[in-house]
């Protein structure tokens, strides 16, 4: 009596399964639903719409802490508006990148050993660039 399936029948079954479960199995047959990019955002809060003042107020020195808070919070609102104006850069990005590049070399030179320091001077085009090649131990050939 033979229990189980023959190796042949097993192979056939496997092949059939593979046919069914092909790669296409994992994709739905629906048409592509493109979500329309909406340019409208919904907000339920009034704080976006109107610039409202801070809710706690004190007048004529009744509560000094609250008066301090009033100045802080209302100034914060105005400061945010001012900050939104464009900030001018003192140093342009390219110049910053260049400086940084050479800076790495100069500081690296400080920590390099005496032998390595010689490597730093070779590449000078006005820039100091360290060479990455190091002298490794070479096994003597017979």
């Amino acid at each position: 009596m033979q229990r189980g399936l023959d190796s042949e029948t097993k192979k056939q079954l496997e092949e059939e399964e593979k046919k069914i479960i092909s790669e296409e199995h994992w994709y739905l047959d629906l048409p592509e639903l493109k979500e329309k990019e909406s340019f409208i955002i919904e907000e339920q809060s009034f704080s976006l719409c109107e610039d409202l003042l801070y809710g706690r107020m004190s007048f004529r020195g009744f509560n000094p802490e609250v008066e301090k808070l009033m100045l802080q919070m209302n100034a914060k609102n105005k400061a945010e508006e001012v900050e939104e104006e464009t900030v001018e850069l003192d140093v342009s990005d390219e110049e910053m990148a260049r400086r940084y590049e050479t800076l790495v070399g100069t500081i690296g030179k400080k920590f390099a050993k005496k032998r390595d320091r010689a490597n730093y001077e070779e590449d000078e085009n006005g820039d100091i660039k360290p060479i990455k090649t190091r002298k490794m131990f070479l096994k003597p050939q017979d």
């Binding site: 955002i41 719409c49 809710g55 706690r56 107020m57 007048f59």
Partner: protein, 275 residues
């Protein structure tokens, strides 16, 4: 009467979505659809029947438009859900298409995330307080949500105290939650409101008017006598002055401001200043 009815019938029969720009500062009714500026270009004057579909969606040069309270997004248009005046705010820094909203009037408050409100502590159960903010359910306030509160150092809050806090969770599916600290952990004036004083309720629109940057009412009130006011966006105002009489006068003025014209207000203030 007959003429008014005829006009209304006419407007309903010949219904077409109006341009939002054309309706600014006018009264809009729920159910109206508003077109955003870029979409009006295809509309000819007296265009017959349907508008041609615009397929050049790629030519959008505007940023995002925010539709605020009272408006909803309906496809590419705005749908009005509350009656009131349509307002618009230009974007400050140039990005985005600005904000549209409806300035409506109501007394019932619906919790909104980020709003600062005055609540009354109604119950204390374990680690949270139940705070009544005037919405459909009481908000929950954890005892750790106060400045400097730890498990050992609990805040001194009793049932019946007034709390000034803001919502962190407020939507129609969940119970609203509020806290008395900001995102950095500082109190910023929130927490338990002190002793004495008077709490009363006004409409939500009045609160927003009073909190507008250039509010004359507050400037005049501030000149009368030393006082302290806390405004909650849920329509509650707490006032305190040195004597009970002054507090009551203040409360009456603020309540009456709703329906007074500027002249009447000035009269009252001048009378008060004399006495």
């Amino acid at each position: 009467m007959a003429e008014a009815a005829a006009v209304v019938a006419e407007s309903l029969a010949g219904y077409r979505a109006r341009a939002a720009r054309a309706v600014l500062e006018q009264v809009v009714l729920p159910g109206e659809e508003l077109l955003l500026p870029e979409q009006e270009d295809g509309e000819g004057p007296g265009g017959a029947g349907e508008r041609p579909l615009r397929l050049n969606a790629g030519a959008r040069s505007r940023g995002r438009v925010v539709c605020g309270p009272g408006l909803r997004r309906c496809g590419d248009r705005l749908l009005v859900t509350k009656c009131g005046r349509l307002r618009h705010k230009e974007p400050g820094s140039g990005s985005g298409g600005g904000v549209y909203w409806v300035d409506s009037q109501q007394k019932r408050y619906v919790p909104v995330k980020g709003d600062h409100v005055i609540g009354i502590v109604t119950a204390k159960s374990g680690d949270i307080f139940k705070v009544d903010v005037g919405g459909s359910e009481p908000a929950s306030l954890s005892y750790l949500a106060f400045e400097g509160a730890t498990k050992r150092n609990r805040p001194n809050v009793q049932v019946g105290d007034l709390i000034y806090g803001q919502f962190v969770v407020a939507n129609k599916d969940m119970e609203p939650e509020m806290v008395c600290i900001d995102s950095c952990g500082r109190a910023c004036g929130m927490g338990v409101i002190g002793q004495d004083g008077l709490l009363f309720k006004v409409t939500l629109g009045l609160i927003r008017r009073l909190l507008a940057p250039d509010c004359e009412i507050l400037q005049e009130v501030g000149k009368l006598y030393p006082l302290e006011i806390v405004f909650g966006m849920n329509g509650r105002i707490w006032v305190k002055a040195k004597t009970i009489q002054q507090t009551l006068i203040l409360a009456n003025i603020l309540e009456a401001c709703e329906h007074m014209t500027a002249d009447q207000r000035k009269q009252i203030f001048s009378r008060l200043a004399e006495s």
